[in-house]
Every structure is written in structure tokens, then in C-alpha cells.
């Protein structure tokens, strides 16, 4: 019995400790960290597969250079990444460094949960904002308000299947081509058999807004929101943006060159370009490494087609490393951040992603690996500011209304697109007003 009570007592004590009841009896972690010779940094990312392998290689180099610092990388699947980071923040246990996607950057900056990194971009750290490509660097960061060390910044370009072009007796697309040429090619590349589409000319992003209507709005000379990010009326429903949206919707409903958003979703995670189901895809460079390894896949890359303004422009997907404001290991974390911003990191990291740092040597090495990547590197200068990062809560206030509008317009071909745009603008204004007055 005594033994049983003893065991139960120990069990209860262990549970109390686990629940934090016994925290008063536990030594202070900060004091422990200061006196300990080794520091363990926690770093969270959504990278996985080859991206994560590359990271681990870079981290191994850093650990070798800094033997008193151990880095624990936690790879969290993309779908669970933000819920996990946010709940960790809510209970004060967020990682020392975390990767933040561009759409979350404004909320993180406002929250006070991440530290300003202005101090790093000074001669003391041998770092300057001039080391970076401004279009990419200032997507989340603002002059004088730097919170993110950019990881990479993918710009949108069109990847095309050379074999399909040859089979359709079409010339490969060239820089300076237009959206009308894109449609003409895509129509020729769409193949139907027995009433079923077996090959689509293009894979449009559906309700994915970035390379969809945001890209087209830029090319048509329009905007979705005002520059201060507080209103949609007068911008989303302006003539230029309306024309861009109608053009985009017509590619689905009249030209039938792309699977609809729900058709695309029904394929799950299958890469329709790689599996030979689509010929053209406006996207980032993230799948090129996989494409390179497929000896049967011949692909090329061309800049985004030009819109009526004939002004080259492209959107970007970017992410940056942020420093948790309550970290107990600030100095070590800053050291790692500094390493993330270095040329050494880019070279060890296997040139993963389109770099934000200006570095002709790194660029040359990347082009040597894959000549097609040169288009992504060249087009960085045309990256337009992201509307996503210019409002407080894009994913809550703007994105659902735009996606609903697009879904209705694409799935119900007879719907009045102008009217749907007006409704969306009204809804977004109401959401923004509510959010900015709270």
C-alpha cells in the first residue's frame, strides 16, 4: 500500500509539474540559460522535404561556427503552421525565431510579439538594407520599420511545357507577350476527347488571388484597395480593376482554358503541370528542382504576359524570419538571424528559393544549376508592392469576400460580374471599417 501511495504520489507530483502547478519549485529558466554554457535556439518553419534538408545543412554549418549554440528546427506542416505559432504566442512559448508569411506580416508587426530588427541593419552588424533588392525587401518591411530578415521572395512567371508547344506546332512564348497571346496559345493547347478535357492549355490560380486578380489588376493599372489599405470602394470596383477581373473570369467561363478552382481542388496535391495535364502555369520557382529531375519534362520559363498598360510587373510570395520579442536567447537568435542574411547562408542553403540579397555570384551559381531560373532572377526588379501587406488583416477582411466573388463568377457563368464586384467591395469596406475601429 505504502509503495502504491508512494508511486501515486510521485505520479501526482509529476502531473502537477507538467501542469505548471509546481513551477514555483522549479529553478528560473532564464537564470539557468545564463549560466549554462550551451544555448538551445528554437526555430520554426513550414519548410519540408528538400527545403528542410537544405536548412539543416546550413544550420549544421552555423552550429560548427558557434559551438555553444544548438539550433532545434521544428518543421510544421503549412496547414498547421499558423495555428500552432499563434497558440504558442498566446501561451508565451513561441520559438526564438519563426518564419512569417507575407500575409501575416502586418498583424505580427502590430502585435508586439516580434522585435524590431532596425538595430541589425547597421554597420555594427555589417548589414545594410542596400544589400537587398528593395522590391522584395520592402514587401513586409517598411523603411525604418524592419521586422523581417527575408528568407526568399518568389516572383510569378509562366512555366510552359515545351513538348506540348511542339506537338501543337506553336512557337515558344517570348518576353513581352500579351495576355491575348496567352489565351490564344492556351486554347490551342487545350485538348478534349469524347467530351472530356484531357489536357488544359493553362492552370490558372482560381481563387488564389496573388497571381490571379492581384497580378491582373496591376497589369490593367488598377488596385484592389486604397493605398492605406482601408477601403475597397473606388478601387476594387474601378473600371481598370473590373476589366481585369472580367478578363480573368472569362478565361474560365468563355475560353475554357483552365480547370475550374474546384476541379483543380479535386486533384488534391497532384502537380498538374508535372503530370502533363497542363501546358502553361503562372507560378513561382518552387517546383523547378523537381521538374529538373524529370528527364521527360522539358520546360521553359517566360515572364508574365503584358496587360493593356504594357508595363512589366509581377507579384511575389515572400516570407521572413522574425525574432520573438520574449525570447530568452536574444543574442544567440540575432547571431542566427545575421547568418540567415549572409551570402554564406545562400550558398550553403543550396540556393533554395529566389534570393532577396543582391549577389551576382549567387545568381550566377543558380543560373548554372538551371538556366530557366534566370527569368525569375531578372524579373525581381518588376515585383510590385503587395496589397496583402498593406492592410491589417487581409486574410480575414478582404480574401474571403474576393474568393466568394470569384467562385460565384466562375461557377455561375451567367452571373453579373459587375454586380458581384460591387457586393464584394461593399462587404470588404464593412469588414475593414469594423477591424480598424476595434
Amino acid at each position: 500500500m505504502k509503495r502504491l501511495i508512494g508511486k501515486s504520489g510521485r505520479l501526482a507530483l509529476a502531473m502537477c509539474s507538467a501542469l505548471g502547478i509546481g513551477s514555483a519549485f522549479v529553478s528560473q529558466p532564464s537564470a539557468f540559460a545564463q549560466s549554462a554554457p550551451h544555448i538551445t535556439l528554437t526555430v520554426s518553419t513550414w519548410d519540408s522535404g528538400n527545403g528542410l534538408v537544405a536548412y539543416k545543412r546550413g544550420i549544421a554549418y552555423f552550429e560548427k561556427e558557434n559551438p555553444n549554440i544548438k539550433v532545434q528546427i521544428e518543421s510544421i506542416p503549412w496547414n498547421y503552421y499558423m495555428p500552432k505559432i499563434l497558440t504558442q504566442m498566446a501561451n508565451g512559448s513561441a520559438p526564438d525565431l519563426m518564419l512569417v508569411g507575407d500575409d501575416n506580416m502586418p498583424a505580427f508587426m502590430k502585435s508586439g510579439m516580434i522585435s524590431s530588427l532596425n538595430f541589425m541593419f547597421t554597420p555594427k552588424y555589417h548589414l545594410s538594407v542596400n544589400d537587398f533588392i528593395p522590391n522584395s525587401f520592402y514587401i513586409g518591411n517598411k523603411p525604418g520599420a524592419i521586422y523581417f530578415v527575408p528568407k526568399d521572395a518568389e516572383d510569378a512567371n509562366v512555366i510552359y511545357n515545351k513538348a506540348m508547344f511542339k506537338a501543337a506546332h506553336l512557337a515558344f512564348p517570348k518576353p513581352g507577350w500579351t495576355w491575348q497571346q496567352f489565351i490564344n496559345d492556351a486554347k490551342r493547347l487545350t485538348i478534349k476527347r469524347s467530351g472530356r478535357t484531357v489536357q488544359w492549355g493553362a492552370l490558372l490560380p482560381g481563387t488564389g488571388l496573388r497571381s490571379g486578380i492581384e497580378e491582373l489588376a496591376n497589369e490593367w493599372g488598377g488596385r484592389i484597395l486604397s493605398a492605406n489599405g482601408k477601403t475597397a470602394s473606388g478601387y476594387l470596383n474601378s473600371r481598370a480593376t473590373q476589366n481585369a477581373i472580367k478578363f480573368y473570369v472569362n478565361m474560365y467561363t468563355q475560353d475554357h482554358i483552365s480547370p475550374t478552382p474546384s476541379q483543380t481542388a479535386s486533384f488534391g496535391n497532384i502537380d498538374l503541370f508535372m503530370t502533363g495535364k497542363v501546358a502553361l502555369e503562372p507560378t513561382g520557382s518552387w517546383n523547378l528542382e523537381e521538374y529538373r529531375q524529370d528527364p521527360h519534362l522539358q520546360y521553359g520559363v517566360v515572364p508574365m504576359p503584358l496587360g493593356p498598360t504594357h508595363k512589366p510587373t509581377t507579384v511575389t510570395w515572400t516570407a521572413g524570419w522574425a525574432l520573438y520579442s520574449r525570447t530568452q536567447n536574444r543574442d544567440a537568435a540575432v547571431k542566427l538571424l545575421r547568418f540567415f542574411a549572409s551570402r554564406k547562408w545562400a550558398s550553403i542553403n543550396d540556393y533554395w528559393g529566389i534570393p532577396v540579397r543582391k549577389d551576382p555570384q549567387v545568381d550566377a551559381q543558380m543560373i548554372k544549376q538551371d538556366p530557366a531560373i534566370s527569368v525569375f532572377l531578372q524579373q525581381r526588379k518588376y515585383i510590385a508592392p503587395l496589397e496583402t501587406t498593406q492592410t491589417m488583416n487581409w486574410s480575414k477582411d478582404v480574401q474571403p469576400a474576393l474568393q466568394q466573388m470569384l467562385e460565384q463568377a466562375i461557377l455561375k457563368p451567367n452571373s453579373n460580374v459587375s454586380s458581384l464586384i460591387q457586393q464584394a467591395a461593399k462587404q470588404i469596406d464593412s469588414n475593414l471599417q469594423q477591424d480598424y475601429t476595434q
Partner: protein, 327 residues
């Protein structure tokens, strides 16, 4: 003095008798004392053994529930501290069209899939209750799908329902029928998921099978001798005796179906056109995509109340249609 003596004598006798009784009763008392002591030890042991569960329940169930109730009266975006807004979230619900849409989708799904699931699982249980060769193999085959993870099942069914290359449309094509877009068609997406829900009837089926095997053969034989037809025996003997299992499966199915999430999360993202916007998926969107934790907590409590009321209604009416053999 006499009186005094007498009193003294009487008292002495009483004391003597008491002593005698004590001597006689002491083993009994001792046994009782030992028993009490044993009882106390057993009680202590009971409390020690249930303590981990109690701590777990308080920390991981009741505590979070009470906190979520508090959160439902606040505005909280996870970054800043929760701000008390009274009944604001609950008031907002009534004017939120997506709240009503999610409730509508979940209700339709539950109203159709719960009875459908019960009927199909009962039919399968009856089939598996027959004495045929290889019965255990059939039982295993039919139960197996219900132990496969929801995400895996959802991924498989995305391909089954694929309008271009899916198994279902290929089969329909062989019959000369052009299949619909299933998950990509707003009119077909919810019926597709209802159809898919039948994949998991194995759990209910096992409970029905256990119930069917508890039915005394003598009752069925007696009914046969009285001239009852097969249908009559099923309706008047099998169903009443099976009614506790039906009640159990009904309550659990209602709870499970109102909490449907995985299919929407993995297969449809609530679309197309919100046609599969399940309640719990909408709650998740509010919590982790829009960071409306307070609003999500309010949604959670409304769902809790809906499920509680439905369960109470089922249990209250069960007195009229559930029969226990001991009664």
C-alpha cells in the same frame, strides 16, 4: 445508604455487565474497526487512483470549457489580451449569413446521414448475423473501413469523386451515364459527402451485431410458431430488443455528424460556393484563419447547446420507444 448501596450495587453490576459485554463483543468491534480501517484505506486508494483522471479532466476538459465560455464574451485575436464585449459575439451570430449557411449545411448533412447510416449499418449487421461460411472474413472486411483515418479516407474519396479521372464517373461512363462534377459542383458536393459518410458505418454495425446476437432465439421461434412473418418478427421482436443499441448509435451519430470537419478541411475547404461549409469548419476558419477566437468560442458554445438539446430530446423520447429486456 441502602439506596445508596443499592445504587452502588446496581451501578457495579452495570459496570460488570458492561465489562462482560465488552469482553464478549470486543472481537466483533475489532473486526468492525478493522473493516472500517480497510474501508478507509480502499477509499484512499480509490481517490489516489482517480486523482490523475480528475486532474486531467479539470486541466484539459472542464478548465478549457469554462475558459472558452469566458472567451465567447470577448474579442480576442491571440496577439492582444481578450477584451470583454458581453454578448457581442452572440449578437453578431444572428446577422452572419455564413453562420446560418454552416448550420444549414450541417443540419442537412446530419438529418440525411444519421438515419441513412443507421439503416445501412443495421442491414449490414443483419447480413453478418447469418450463419454462412467465411463470416469472420466478411465481418473484418466490412468493419475495416471504419478504422482508417479520416484524412486517408478523404484523400481516397477525392480520387473516387474526381470528375475527370475518378472511379465513380468511370463506372457511370461504362453504363452510358455522364457523371456529375461531384465535389466541384455546388449541387452535388454535399450529397457526395453524405454518400461518403457510409464508409464509416462499421462502428455502428458492430454494435448492432452485438445487439442482434443478444436476441433470444426462443423469442423468434415463439413468434414463428404464432405465425409471425419475417417482417413481423423483425418489426415486433428484433427492433424492440435492439432499441437500446439503436438509441446508443443514434445519440453518438448525432454528436459525430454535427462535429464533421475533416471532409471539409481536406476535400472541399467548405466549397464550392459554401455548399459544404460545415459548422466546425467555419468555427476553425474563424479561430485560426481570421483569428476571431472569441467569435469561434461563441460558435463552439452554440454547437454544444444544439447537440445537448438534441441529445436530451432523443433521450426524453427514448422512454417511449426503447425497451430493456429486464423491464
Amino acid at each position: 445508604m441502602k439506596g445508596g448501596d443499592g445504587d452502588c450495587y446496581y451501578s457495579r453490576r452495570q459496570v460488570h455487565m458492561a465489562n462482560v459485554q465488552t469482553e464478549v463483543m470486543s472481537p466483533v468491534k475489532a473486526t468492525r474497526r478493522r473493516r472500517n480501517s480497510l474501508q478507509a484505506k480502499r477509499e484512499r486508494l480509490f481517490y489516489i487512483l482517480v486523482l490523475p483522471w480528475v486532474i486531467g479532466f479539470l486541466a484539459f476538459t472542464l478548465g478549457p470549457m469554462v475558459y472558452s465560455l469566458y472567451l465567447s464574451f470577448t474579442h480576442w485575436d491571440l496577439f492582444s489580451s481578450p477584451r470583454f464585449i458581453g454578448l457581442g459575439n452572440y449578437a453578431q451570430l444572428s446577422g452572419d449569413p455564413l453562420f446560418w449557411q454552416s448550420l444549414r449545411v450541417t443540419s442537412i448533412y446530419s438529418i440525411v446521414s444519421v438515419p441513412l447510416g443507421l439503416i445501412v449499418s443495421l442491414m449490414l449487421a443483419i447480413l453478418l448475423n447469418q450463419k454462412v461460411k467465411g463470416l469472420s472474413v466478411f465481418r473484418t472486411i466490412l468493419y475495416l473501413p471504419s478504422v482508417v483515418s479520416g484524412v486517408a479516407v478523404s484523400t481516397v474519396f477525392m480520387w473516387v469523386f474526381n470528375p475527370q479521372f475518378g472511379l465513380l464517373n468511370a463506372l457511370l461512363g461504362e453504363l452510358g451515364v455522364k457523371g456529375p462534377g461531384w465535389l466541384s459542383d455546388p449541387n452535388w458536393a454535399l450529397p457526395s459527402l453524405i454518400l461518403m459518410s457510409l464508409w464509416g458505418v462499421g462502428g455502428n454495425m458492430i454494435i448492432f451485431l452485438a445487439g442482434l446476437q443478444n436476441i433470444p432465439v426462443s423469442l423468434l421461434e415463439a413468434a414463428s410458431l404464432d405465425g409471425a412473418t419475417l417482417w413481423r418478427r423483425f418489426w415486433s421482436v428484433t427492433i424492440p430488443i435492439l432499441s437500446p443499441s439503436i438509441l446508443f448509435n443514434l445519440v453518438l451519430s448525432i454528436i459525430n455528424q454535427f462535429q464533421t470537419f475533416t471532409q471539409a478541411y481536406v476535400m472541399t475547404n467548405g466549397g464550392p460556393l459554401h455548399s459544404t461549409l460545415f459548422y466546425v469548419y467555419y468555427l476553425f476558419e474563424n479561430a485560426f484563419q481570421y483569428l476571431n477566437m472569441g467569435y469561434a468560442a461563441a460558435l463552439g458554445w452554440i454547437l454544444f447547446i444544439i447537440i445537448l438539446v438534441l441529445t436530451m430530446i432523443v433521450l426524453a423520447t427514448s422512454k417511449k420507444w426503447v425497451f430493456y429486456q429486464g423491464e
